[in-house]
């Protein structure tokens, strides 16, 4: 286990190192146009030390340290991603079970067709469609932002839902529901991708488990389908689902960047795109290293978690499988 962790960390460090070289060259090309190549190594060393101490430089656009900017906006993105994962589990598990139970049947066919559309639909267009229908046509949901701006909620955690509840404003529950409403459309858009993943996983493992003998034994004992799924099916399906969701984190984060742009969600997506427009190089570098490091760490953490809860996989590592 320890060796495995060290191995993974090694690769992580190498990848981040390569990314930092790219980022460094980007900055250098802009500032000095490669005029003096002699003290490049020295420059890079200084640059790396600054990066390691969390100093990504000052954003030309906002005038604040880049890391500070990132840390203020990133919770918004994270909140959206987490909500999307929760929704994907809430929707994905029951539909996955339904599809798994009726493999080849019409329910399965219907669910899988919707799933196929779900992976094929361009995120930004889906977002625009939802916005056109639910906000502009029906007027049910707001089109943008995290919360009605007349609510004044002090920032504590950066997660709006928590912050509203933590605040002591008289309207905190109202504000909480208001942020839920603002979350609704972006969350649906963002949940499309992980939901399809959950449905596929659950469907596959339920389908597999249901053919096994112990299930037949359980049926013989007189348990109904609901009980069987609760006791046996899910217990075997869920441990596989959660890590696979973790591995989706990178894709969800990227999708979130697009979703945020459509719904003007004040997260890392619009921030990054805006900085690319403005050619704010320290912000671009900082953002890129931060996102990459975050995704890589999230994946690693998922793998570790998977190892901890799934002893079978641990054996695989040592080639015992």
């Amino acid at each position: 286990m320890l060796i495995y962790i060290i191995k993974r960390l090694n690769v992580l460090v190498i990848t981040l190192f390569l990314l930092s070289v790219v980022a460094f060259l980007l900055q250098r090309q802009v500032i000095t146009d490669f005029v003096n190549t002699d003290n490049m190594l020295g420059d890079y060393q200084r640059y790396l030390m600054a990066m390691l101490s969390g100093d990504f430089g000052i954003s030309q656009a906002s005038g604040n340290p880049v890391l500070q900017d990132i840390l203020t906006i990133f919770p918004a993105t994270l909140e959206l991603c987490l909500m999307a994962f929760i929704v994907s589990l809430i929707l994905g598990v029951p539909f996955g079970i339904l599809a798994g139970l009726s493999r080849g049947g019409s329910a399965d066919y219907g669910i899988m067709t919707v799933t196929l559309v779900g992976v094929s639909i361009p995120t930004f267009w889906f977002a625009m469609l939802l916005m056109m229908f639910f906000s502009l046509h029906l007027g049910w949901l707001p089109v943008s932002g995290r919360m009605g701006l007349l609510y004044e909620i002090p920032v504590v955690t950066g997660f709006n839902l928590l912050d509203t509840l933590l605040s002591n404003q008289p309207y905190k529950y109202e504000a909480f529901f208001d942020s839920l409403q603002h979350l609704a459309l972006p969350t649906i858009v963002l949940a499309a991708l992980p939901t399809t993943e959950v449905i596929r996983q659950v469907r596959a493992s339920i389908g597999e488990e249901m053919d096994k003998n112990y299930i037949k034994a359980a049926q013989a004992k007189g348990l109904n389908t609901f009980q069987i799924i609760k006791r046996h099916g899910l217990r075997n399906a869920l441990p596989a689902v959660i890590p696979s969701l973790g591995l989706q984190f990178g894709r969800v984060l990227t999708t979130a960047m697009i979703t945020e742009t459509v719904f003007s969600w004040p997260g890392i997506g619009p921030w990054m795109v805006n900085n690319i427009y403005l050619e704010d190089h320290s912000a671009i570098q900082g953002g890129m290293l931060f996102i990459a490091a975050f995704v890589l760490l999230a994946n690693m953490a998922t793998d570790m978690l998977h190892l901890l809860i799934n002893p079978l996989k641990r054996d695989e590592l040592y080639g015992k499988s």
Binding site: S62, I90, P94, M131, S135, L136, G139, W140, L141, P142, V143, S144, G145, G148, L149, L150, Y151, E152, Y171, E174, A175, F177, D178, L180, Q181, A184, F226, S264, P266, P270, W271, N274, Y277
Partner: protein, 531 residues
């Protein structure tokens, strides 16, 4: 299980039923178009700063919205000396400044504040002159510093402006949203703590709302200034929701997330007027879009070539396609609502045939190729400069002129204008006073080349003489005569081709009342409320 599902799906519905609430009725939300660079309109000339100005500040005199005449503001009355060189203002008493978390004023407005506010602009040695960049675009464009000899205090509530030469446009300039009065006490307080730049970032003014919070790209929060000298505003809170995309601004207006929106796009005018919940104010703005010819780049210094190109342009189509008919074709630079407008100018009517003939007669080497520089963002005077350039390109193609469009971000475009890189330029001008001088001086005077507002880079001593002569004249009839002469000269020389005057649109929800807007852009919430 099914019950759980039903509950989950009904949650958002429940939430949407709770929209009627007390908090929402205690404030207004305005969808503004961008981040202000600072909170002092003296330093800026963008629409976003204009929108902030009337909430935070007041000016000495104001424009009457109906007659466009000058009325009293912070100055109760004023007096102009016979020779037109001295303007004395008597200030209102008991005008309170904002009291905020970062500054508590100890006194009300007096002459020191007025002297402080204007000396800061005109005296290069003033401690605040170079704070926040030290550039005062509006005052540069109107050559304010060259005009004002001194601003001095005559008594606790009496101020005098001394001029180098008579200028009848001074009062109109002082009535703009840029000539705001700051607090001298706050200035001294900041100076003592060595935080001069804060003057323009954390504002203290006398306006109906005071500053509370600013989150870039997100919001500006104001709260009611109880001590406002005209009586506290009806709403305790005012929030600017910073939304750069016009589509999103309209979307928010439709869903009710905003109560009013800044700069509706021309294409949205029909949608707004057809929508049952929305209302729209329409005014002819003091704005013009034009196509300028760079006189430093031959053959565009050749009047015959310019006339040929001008005749080739179908401005009616541009008006229809770009402005969605929310504007009028421009004949001369002045809008038809201006008192100096010359209705007898005959214009360069669209005729590709004539254009081709003129071009051939001009004796330049054909085929002609040129560049059209333009901005990638919508401007107050042109909803879509790039699209305008595309139409010009298409029209030029018909007479065998090959045009290349260079579309740049506003700040890149500005540096191209500074360097004079373009052959031609699609741009425009938003006047901030109704005085015709505010059109002619920035666009055509020689000094304005250095200010980068004279984009044709044409300098004529004779025209400069006429422009100066017009502002010295304080009788209307001769003044109008001079402006008509100027317009005829411009028509014949044609340094730039005026394209269209846009309408000033203001959209808001039906339940909002008391919203005031000016024909020069900018919005005023001092009396706005919602039922």
């Amino acid at each position: 299980m099914i019950r759980l599902f039903a509950l989950l799906f009904s949650l958002p519905m429940l939430a949407s039923c709770m929209q009627e609430s007390q908090v929402l009725n205690k404030g207004l939300v305005y969808c503004s178009s961008g981040n202000p660079t600072n909170f002092n309109p003296q330093l800026s000339q963008t629409g976003d700063s204009l929108d902030i100005s009337s909430q935070l500040y007041n000016t000495l005199v104001r424009l009457d919205p109906n007659t466009q005449g000058i009325t009293s503001g912070l100055a109760r009355k004023w007096h102009v000396s016979r020779d037109g060189l001295r303007y004395q203002f008597e200030l209102r008493r008991g005008v309170a400044f904002h009291s905020t978390a970062y500054f508590t004023p100890k006194r009300t407005l007096n002459a020191d504040d007025v002297v402080f506010s204007f000396r800061r602009i005109i005296h290069p040695t003033h401690p605040f002159h170079s704070a926040s960049g030290g550039s005062y675009p509006f005052f540069n464009n109107t050559q304010f510093s060259q005009l004002i000899k001194n601003v001095k205090k005559l008594g606790p509530y009496k101020v005098e402006f001394e001029l180098h030469r008579p200028d009848t446009s001074l009062l109109a300039n002082l009535a703009t949203e840029f000539a705001v009065i700051l607090s001298a006490e706050y200035g001294h307080h900041l100076q003592k703590h060595g935080k001069n730049n804060q003057l323009d970032q954390l504002p203290i003014g006398t306006g109906p709302y005071q500053f509370k919070q600013f989150i870039p790209d997100n919001l500006i929060r104001f709260e009611r200034h109880w001590g406002y000298w005209e009586g506290g505003a009806p709403m305790p809170q005012l929030v600017f929701d910073i939304t750069t995309s016009p589509t999103l601004r309209l979307a928010k207006l439709i869903t009710g997330e905003c109560d009013a929106m800044a700069y509706p796009a021309a294409s949205q005018a029909n949608v707004i007027s057809d929508h049952p919940d929305l209302l729209m104010n329409v005014e002819t703005g003091y704005k013009v879009s034009y196509w300028a010819f760079n006189h430093d780049k031959p053959p565009f210094n050749n009047a015959q070539v310019r006339k040929a190109l001008a005749t080739a342009i179908d401005r009616k189509t541009i008006l229809k396609a770009v402005y969605f008919n929310t504007g009028v074709v421009s004949h001369g630079l002045l809008p038809p609502t201006s008192w100096a407008y010359n209705p007898y100018l005959d214009d360069y009517a669209y005729s590709p045939k004539l254009a081709r003939k003129l071009l051939q007669e001009s004796g330049i080497k054909l085929p002609l190729s040129l560049t059209i520089y333009t901005s990638s963002s919508p401007e107050p005077f042109n909803p879509n400069s790039f699209k305008t350039a595309e139409f010009i390109q298409r029209d030029l193609q018909k007479i065998g002129v090959n045009a290349k469009i260079v579309v740049l971000e506003p700040h890149h475009l500005h540096s191209s204008i500074v360097n004079g890189e373009y052959d031609t330029l699609v741009s425009g001008w938003s006047a901030v006073t109704s005085d015709p001088d505010n059109f002619f001086r920035p666009q055509y005077s020689c000094n304005a080349i250095a200010n980068h507002t004279n984009t044709s880079r044409w300098c004529s001593a004779k025209l400069d003489g006429l422009i100066d002569q017009a502002v010295k004249q304080n009788r209307m009839v001769p003044r109008i005569r001079i402006y008509r002469e100027i317009q005829e000269k411009l028509r014949n020389h044609l340094p730039l081709l005026p394209l269209a005057h846009s309408l000033q649109l203001q959209a808001y929800r039906r339940d909002v009342h008391g919203l005031k807007s000016s024909p020069f852009g900018g919005v005023n919430f001092s009396e706005a409320y919602r039922d």
